[in-house]
Symmetry: C2
Subunit: 232 residues, 2 copies
Amino acid sequence: MSETSWSPPTLLVTVDLVILTLRAGELNVLLVERGVEPYQGEMALPGGFLEHDGEDLLAAAHRELDEEANLAGAVLHLEQLGAYGDPSRDPRGRVVSVAHLAIAPGLPEPEAGSDAAGARWQPVGAVLSGEVRLAFDHLRILADGVERARAKLEHTALATAFCGETFTISELQQVYEAVWGVEVDPRNFYRKVQGVDGFIVPDGHKATRGRPARLFRAGARASLHPPIVRPG
Amino acid sequence: MSETSWSPPTLLVTVDLVILTLRAGELNVLLVERGVEPYQGEMALPGGFLEHDGEDLLAAAHRELDEEANLAGAVLHLEQLGAYGDPSRDPRGRVVSVAHLAIAPGLPEPEAGSDAAGARWQPVGAVLSGEVRLAFDHLRILADGVERARAKLEHTALATAFCGETFTISELQQVYEAVWGVEVDPRNFYRKVQGVDGFIVPDGHKATRGRPARLFRAGARASLHPPIVRPG
DNA sequence: CGAATAGTGTCTATAAGACATTATACT
DNA sequence: AGTATAATGTCTTATAGACACTATTCG
C-alpha cells in the first residue's frame, strides 16, 4: 500500500449515550424521539456529532448529556462503551459512533421545552424485548451497555452511582436486583457489602415506617475485593 | 443547538492493533517503525486509515493485520478495545483511532521485504517500562490491551488463542504466567483447568524429555465456570 | 402490643491456596 | 539406575448459598 499523494477518507463521527437510571425499582434508559430523517419519529439513544475543536470523546459525551438530557451536573459515572462502525448502520452513509455509558441516580421526567424535549425514560426490559423499537443499531448498543453495567456491578462500586448521596443497604440491594434482573438474599447481601472494605461508609440514619435504617454513602474504594458476583 | 443548514465536521479514523503473542515465555507485542512523519523512525502500533467502502471496523482490523503484519490466516482472536479521540493525540489534527486487540500463537520474526518490513516483536515489559518509546498515545493503548488480555484470561478461554492447535497443560500455564506476570502453582492449576468443563479437551500425547505430556486442544466453552482468577 | 421494616447468626458446600510425592519415559 | 518432566492427593482456610430469628421504631 503506497501512501504517496493519497489522502485518506474523512468521515462522520457521532457520540451516542446509554443513560441508565432506576425508576420505581426498574432499570430505565433515556430515549429521544428523532425530529429529522432518517428514522424520523422513532426512538433513539441521545447523541450527536463530534465537534472537531479540541474536544475529547468523553467531553463530547458530557456535552451531549447536557444538551440532550439536561443532566450536566447530576451524573456520577460516564465511560466509553466502544465504537460502532458497521457500514450499513446509518442510511446517510458512513458514520462511526462512539457509544458511552452514563449512570444517573433516580430522576424525574425530563422537562419539555428544553433541548431535551421528546426525551423519555423507558423501561429497559420493554426495549430489549422489542416492544419499543430503536433507530439505527441502537438496540445492540443498549444491550452492550446493559451488559457492561451488569458486569461492572460485580467488580466495581458502580451500584452507588445509581443511588443518591446517601442510601440504605436495602436500596443498594434493589439496584443490584433491578440491573441484574434477579432476586438477591438480603442476609448474604448485607454480609457481602459490609465485608468489602471501603465500599460503603456509614452516614447517619433514616427514619422509616419500622426500624430506622442505617444510611451509607459511597466509600473511596472503586474496585470490590472480594467481588459481589451475580448468580448463574 | 440548531441543525438547520449546518453540516457536521468530518474527520479521520484509524484502526490500530495491539497484537500480542508469546515468544520464549515472554509476552510480546508487534511494533512497526514509522516511515513517515509524524514520529518518523519511532516505533508504533500497526494500523492504518479506515477505508470508507463498506468495510466494518473489525474487517478493517483484519485487513491491517494482513497488510502490516502478514497475519491474515494465523489469528485466533480479534476484538475491539475502544476508541481513542484525545484532540492532541495526533499532531496532524483530529484523528480518532479505534484500537483492536489481536492474539496470535507463537510466531517467527516477521519477514522483511513485505509490507511488514520494519515490523518487530518487542517484549511488552520493555515497552510498558518506557525502555522502548511509542508514538502517539500508543503506550496507553497498549497498556489497555494488556490489561484487557489479563482480565479476559480469567473468565474466557482466551489463553488457548496464545497456543497452537494443540498444547500441554504446562504450556497453557506458561501463557497465564507470562500474561499475568506472576507464577502459578502447577498442582492447583491442573486441578482448576481440568475442573472447567469444556475448556480443554484431550488430543493425544506429546513426546518430551521425561514423561510424555498429554496434549489438549481448545474446547467448545468460551466462558470459564468457575473462572481462573489471578492472585492479588 | 402489634405491625412493619432493619439487621444478624449458623450451617453446609464449594473453591482456593499451600505443600510433597508418585508416575512415566528416555539415556 | 538415574534423570527429567508430568501428573496427582490432602489438608486448611475462605467464600458462597440456603435458611429463620431477633431488634427497633411507630401507631
